[in-house]
Subunit: 243 residues, 4 copies
Amino acid sequence: MRITVWNENVHETRGDDVVRELYPEGIHGQIAKGLAPHFADDGDVIRTAVLQDDEHGLTEQVLDETDVLLWWGHIAHDQVSDEVVERVHRRVLAGMGLLVMHSGHYSKIFTRITGSTASLLWRSEGERELVWTIERTHPIAAGIPNPIVIPRQEMYGEPFDIPVPDELVFVSSFTGGEVFRSGVTYTRGLGRIFYFSPGDQEYPVYHQAEILQVLANGIRWAAPRLPREDLTAEHRPTGWFAP
Amino acid sequence: MRITVWNENVHETRGDDVVRELYPEGIHGQIAKGLAPHFADDGDVIRTAVLQDDEHGLTEQVLDETDVLLWWGHIAHDQVSDEVVERVHRRVLAGMGLLVMHSGHYSKIFTRITGSTASLLWRSEGERELVWTIERTHPIAAGIPNPIVIPRQEMYGEPFDIPVPDELVFVSSFTGGEVFRSGVTYTRGLGRIFYFSPGDQEYPVYHQAEILQVLANGIRWAAPRLPREDLTAEHRPTGWFAP
Amino acid sequence: MRITVWNENVHETRGDDVVRELYPEGIHGQIAKGLAPHFADDGDVIRTAVLQDDEHGLTEQVLDETDVLLWWGHIAHDQVSDEVVERVHRRVLAGMGLLVMHSGHYSKIFTRITGSTASLLWRSEGERELVWTIERTHPIAAGIPNPIVIPRQEMYGEPFDIPVPDELVFVSSFTGGEVFRSGVTYTRGLGRIFYFSPGDQEYPVYHQAEILQVLANGIRWAAPRLPREDLTAEHRPTGWFAP
Amino acid sequence: MRITVWNENVHETRGDDVVRELYPEGIHGQIAKGLAPHFADDGDVIRTAVLQDDEHGLTEQVLDETDVLLWWGHIAHDQVSDEVVERVHRRVLAGMGLLVMHSGHYSKIFTRITGSTASLLWRSEGERELVWTIERTHPIAAGIPNPIVIPRQEMYGEPFDIPVPDELVFVSSFTGGEVFRSGVTYTRGLGRIFYFSPGDQEYPVYHQAEILQVLANGIRWAAPRLPREDLTAEHRPTGWFAP
């Protein structure tokens, strides 16, 4: 498994003390570290890439060598170049897996894939989030306690403007009473996409073992199942099938 | 619109003071009364039927004259005769609409239709339920506040063992933190089914205008769209379509 | 109902004799004419717009006055300005209905909405298409024969690279043996989208009464159910719900 | 993997020469033989059971030792005891996988699970069936040619009265022009169900390698992912989650 964890890496670098304390190696660094024990086989590769890298670290070559891409962004969606978004989108359609996390719902790549606004309710007051499993037999829910208790989190609430998901894996509640479809899957082309909402920069969510387990499960689920294929190619069968 | 509201009518008749005070005319009576202003056109008929009636009040003739059947049951599911359940099921398949309410999830007709156990978490401690709309453009959600606030209710929680719904209209949260798919739709044969969980016998839920509005919307949505048809009939086309 | 039929209008205007003979008033003109008897109430408006119009005929004002937009394009998708596509997309998200027809699967608006390549098999050899109803109680299938027989059509075949549809209304077969999900629905934001594949420029498909009936049904289904709303607005509830 | 192939075994035993010639060891025998190379690991067990066995060969013990059950029935659905059907259903809900084949759509277990009539069009004139893959990344479609060509088959056509499937894996066309959702999945309780229509007793369908590959894929997909669990148990959490 070849995993690339992408992060806009802006909170961390512009002097936000809370974030720097929680994520001294960046959110991407913490996620990569947390995934490492889950992908410790020979051949498993976990790398990171950030907005500030050349081509945001997502060159053709990096994407060629990525089975599943994780995406974390929040306040710099606009700074991601359309060319890179288009490139990522093309790879997803050809079969690369994609995990979009938390405020990545508003990223260019997620709204490009869903065709929706991805708007939602939100409130950052350190509420308790409970992540309930809806599809118990889904591989992404394997080994996950029901519910996951996240002591302090930003609230994300319905209405969440997304297309009807292919699968509804998790639904969350918050202290304040809101609910949220916190784990949903889609397929686009040959690519599998998993959106998972827990994970704000102001709370230590990516230090929580269950959350890392969900991400690891999501990566295995989203991994390509077929050789990459450019689905945009023309297909013009000329013969008819014999009756 | 010809509506039949069915109720097992056991809490009301065996001396449960709380229920009798909340529903002096029975849960069925209150629902029928609450629906009346919504279906006041000539030709609209709202009738009630209870377990204690001959054939539970669901004779062939009554069902012939029913467009949409509402079902409330709780502690007497076992007393409903298999023959009547089979009869109701056959009508649903032929196009009759069905609304299953609250503890009706464990009714013979609902488990017969879903093929599942319908088990769930529950706790009756008078929690506040918030009913959030997920599909904003669904006709069942028309005119419904988001959320509906039910001051005191029995908690129903996930995991709710039902098939993946055709449409997920509402999701609820409870004071205690649980979530529940509280409004879901299915189609079986030509019949449309809406399950709506709010509505316990110990709380005045069916006195709440928004709840009655949901039921009225559900009835309109579930009403037959085609002439009734026995789908079990054989269909053996013999010719082939010309190429 | 205020309907706008959009057509790229290129086959018709650049001297394609077959198309001109089949559609002397343009494909848009024929569709508008065919829909007229279905929308003959006071207040119903059917207008047309073409690529060659200023802003492709889809100004802010025209879209303000459009409940449902029909889209036909084939060889000039690239000539549709991104600004107009963005404008149409925004209106769909705010609640405008959209019908995408035939080769419109490759249009910018459809791929923008679906996030997919929309690729498929195709072969234009005048095959018979049979359009089978899958969801019999769907309003789009109301009054439609099962199957619709289209004597001569272009073949569109699976794999059709689209997201899993919300509803699968029709599936077609072709003389050569291919199958195709020919009628599918989606929701994006508050907007409802219906893709319907029959309708090539080289065959008189839009002269066929059943096809026009499907379009009329689709328009009624896709019509806005709520006041238009900009879902991109921020929603930051600050209070919590009382327990 | 512990697999049990169940067959009513009536065509084979009552002197139907065509069937006996095609399936001298019974349809169950041929399927078991065809699956053997796919499940040749230590611990893999393939057994068969037939209607004529004591308890139809589906004792509590056999089901305890079955991960995935395959079901073939046609003219003797009525002879299957309700008790055995109930027993199989309970196991499916607790997590056992189930593959229902061909005319098994009318079996008691399939209609019990789906709550529908399962009626369809049919015609047995030896038509060519083409089985097209709809969900290319689905594990059941792995390694399957697109389409599978079955030279001679019974036609099964839409409308097929089943609930909207969780996943639509295959759609077939027939020489005569009909289409059919030939590969569909459901979940009930913790059990996964795959219905696959190819496979009539009068044609050598189960001798075809691609068909056996689909069944092998289906078995792997339907295998239990969690320990068996009786979902009918009561769950009454009493505490609330701390805010």
